[in-house]
C-alpha cells in the first residue's frame, strides 16, 4: 500500500468502512496494519481508524447498522491497539487518565461498556474496567485507588439507570463530587436524556465513539457532554 494524497486517504476510509460493515475483520486489520507500517500507528488511528469509527458511531446512533457491525468495528479497533502495543509502535497509549468503567449494580449488558473501553484506549486513555454489576462503593474505591477523576457507568434499562443515584450518593458521602466526575451511558439515556441529570450524571455521549471527547471534557472539569 502506498498512501499519497487526501484522495487516497478518502478512498482508504471508504474501503475500511465497507470492510467493517461486511464484517471483514481480517481484511480491515490487514489494511490498517499496512497503513501503520508506512505511516506509523498514530497516523493509522488518527487519519484512518478514528474517522471511520466516527462514521460507524453516527450510523449506529441512527440505527443504520446492526449490533453485529458495531461489534466487529470495535473488535477491529481492539486488534489494531493490541498490534500497536506488541509492536511498541508510536501510538500513544495510556497517556491520559486513568478512568474507571463498569456496569452499574444489577446491570449485565457489557457490550456497550466494552466498546467504550476500546474507543477510550484508542484515544490514549488508561482504562480500569470493573465489569458488570458493580456496587457504588466499588466504583468509588477503584477511582480513589487508581487516581481516576472520571467514573463511567453504563446502564441499559431505566431501573438499572436509577441505581446510578447510589454512585452519586457515594461520591457525595465521601466529599468527592466535583473532584470525581460521573459519565453515564447506555441505551436508556437515548430514550430518556433527562435521566442523565436525574441520576446524578455529569455528562453522557450519544455513542461509544463519542466517549473520548466526553471524558476529555469531564477530566478537564469543563462543560458536560451531550444530553445534559
Amino acid at each position: 500500500m502506498t498512501v499519497g494524497n487526501t484522495t487516497d486517504i478518502e478512498k482508504l476510509k471508504e474501503t475500511l468502512f465497507s470492510l467493517m460493515l461486511d464484517a471483514e475483520r481480517e481484511g480491515a486489520v490487514a489494511m490498517l496494519l499496512g497503513f501503520a507500517h508506512e505511516r506509523g500507528f498514530q497516523a493509522a488511528v488518527n487519519d484512518l481508524l478514528e474517522p471511520v469509527l466516527q462514521r460507524v458511531g453516527e450510523d449506529w446512533s441512527r440505527e443504520r447498522i446492526s449490533l453485529a457491525q458495531g461489534y466487529v468495528a470495535g473488535k477491529i479497533a481492539e486488534d489494531v491497539l493490541l498490534a500497536a502495543v506488541s509492536s511498541h509502535g508510536d501510538l500513544r497509549l495510556d497517556v491520559k487518565g486513568p478512568v474507571v468503567l463498569g456496569n452499574v449494580e444489577d446491570d449485565y449488558h457489557s457490550l456497550g461498556r466494552k466498546m467504550v473501553a476500546v474507543f477510550l484506549r484508542a484515544a490514549g486513555w488508561k482504562v480500569v474496567d470493573l465489569g458488570n454489576d458493580v456496587s457504588p462503593a466499588a466504583f468509588v474505591d477503584a477511582a480513589l485507588e487508581h487516581g481516576a477523576r472520571v467514573i463511567g457507568v453504563s446502564a441499559m434499562m431505566l431501573t438499572t439507570a436509577e441505581n446510578i443515584r447510589a454512585v452519586r450518593a457515594e461520591l457525595d458521602a465521601r466529599g468527592l463530587s466535583g473532584r470525581i466526575r460521573l459519565a453515564v451511558g447506555g441505551a436508556v439515556f437515548k430514550l430518556r436524556p433527562e435521566l442523565v441529570r436525574e441520576v446524578g450524571g455529569d455528562g453522557t455521549a450519544a455513542s461509544a465513539i463519542q466517549a473520548p471527547a466526553l471524558f476529555d471534557r469531564l477530566w478537564a472539569g469543563g462543560p458536560e457532554g451531550e444530553g445534559t
Binding site: 453485529a68 466487529v72 473488535k75 444489577d106 457490550l111 454489576d133 438499572t160 441505551a187 436508556v188
Partner: protein, 192 residues
C-alpha cells in the same frame, strides 16, 4: 376485581394462556416479543394500545424492557410483574442474579423457536459471522428455561449449541414464579 387489561410480552403467550383459568379477570393483549429489541417501537405500541382501549386498570406482564412500562407501572391503575426481564420473572431475583454472574445466557421457549430471527435479523449476525465470539466474550453457557407448557425442543437446542458454540442445559422453572408475580401485581392494583 373488574377486568384488567394485561399488556403481555409475546414471550409469555403460551404460559399466560396456561395460567388464564387462575386469573379470570385478566384480558390479555400480546405484543410481539421481538419489540424488546426496539424499545422505542415497543413504547409506541403500548401508547397506541392504551389510547385505543382506555382501560381502567392495566397490568404489564413484562420486564423493564422500555422506560414507559416502568414509568406507567408506578402510576395508580397500573402494575407490573416484578423483574428486570422475562428471565428474572421466571427464575426469581436470586437465581437470576446468581446465574447471570455465572455468565449464563437464557432462552425462553418462544425466543428459542425464533432464535434465528434474534441473532440474524435483529442483531445482524447473518451467517453466524462473529456471533460465537461476541457471545463467548460475555457468556459461558446457554440455559433453556423449561416452563413446562411446551415440549423441550431438543433438536433446536442442539442446533443453537452447534451454531453458536456454547453448551446448553435445561432448567425446569414451571409457572409458579410467573403466577406468583402476576398475583402480586394484581394485589397491588387492588390496593392502589
Amino acid at each position: 376485581m373488574t377486568d384488567v387489561l394485561a399488556v403481555t410480552c409475546g414471550i409469555f403467550r403460551e404460559e399466560l394462556l396456561a395460567l388464564s383459568p387462575n386469573f379470570p379477570g385478566l384480558r390479555p393483549v400480546f405484543l410481539d416479543s421481538m419489540l424488546h429489541m426496539r424499545p422505542e417501537k415497543l413504547q409506541d405500541r403500548i401508547d397506541e394500545l392504551l389510547e385505543v382501549r382506555r382501560p381502567a386498570r392495566v397490568l404489564f406482564i413484562y420486564g423493564d424492557c422500555t422506560p414507559r412500562i416502568v414509568e406507567l407501572s408506578r402510576r395508580p391503575g397500573f402494575a407490573k410483574t416484578r423483574g428486570i426481564n422475562c428471565c428474572e420473572i421466571m427464575l426469581g431475583r436470586e437465581d437470576y442474579r446468581r446465574l447471570r454472574k455465572a455468565r449464563v445466557f437464557f432462552f425462553l421457549p418462544e425466543w428459542t423457536r425464533r432464535w434465528r430471527d434474534v441473532f440474524e435479523q435483529e442483531l445482524g449476525f447473518a451467517g453466524g459471522r462473529g456471533v460465537e465470539e461476541m457471545l463467548s466474550e460475555v457468556h459461558d453457557r446457554f440455559m433453556y428455561l423449561d416452563t413446562g407448557v411446551v415440549p423441550v425442543p431438543r433438536f433446536t437446542l442442539n442446533e443453537i449449541t452447534r451454531e453458536l458454540g456454547l453448551p446448553m442445559s435445561v432448567r425446569e422453572t414451571g409457572l409458579s414464579r410467573l403466577e406468583a408475580s402476576i398475583a402480586d401485581a394484581l394485589e397491588e392494583l387492588r390496593e392502589g
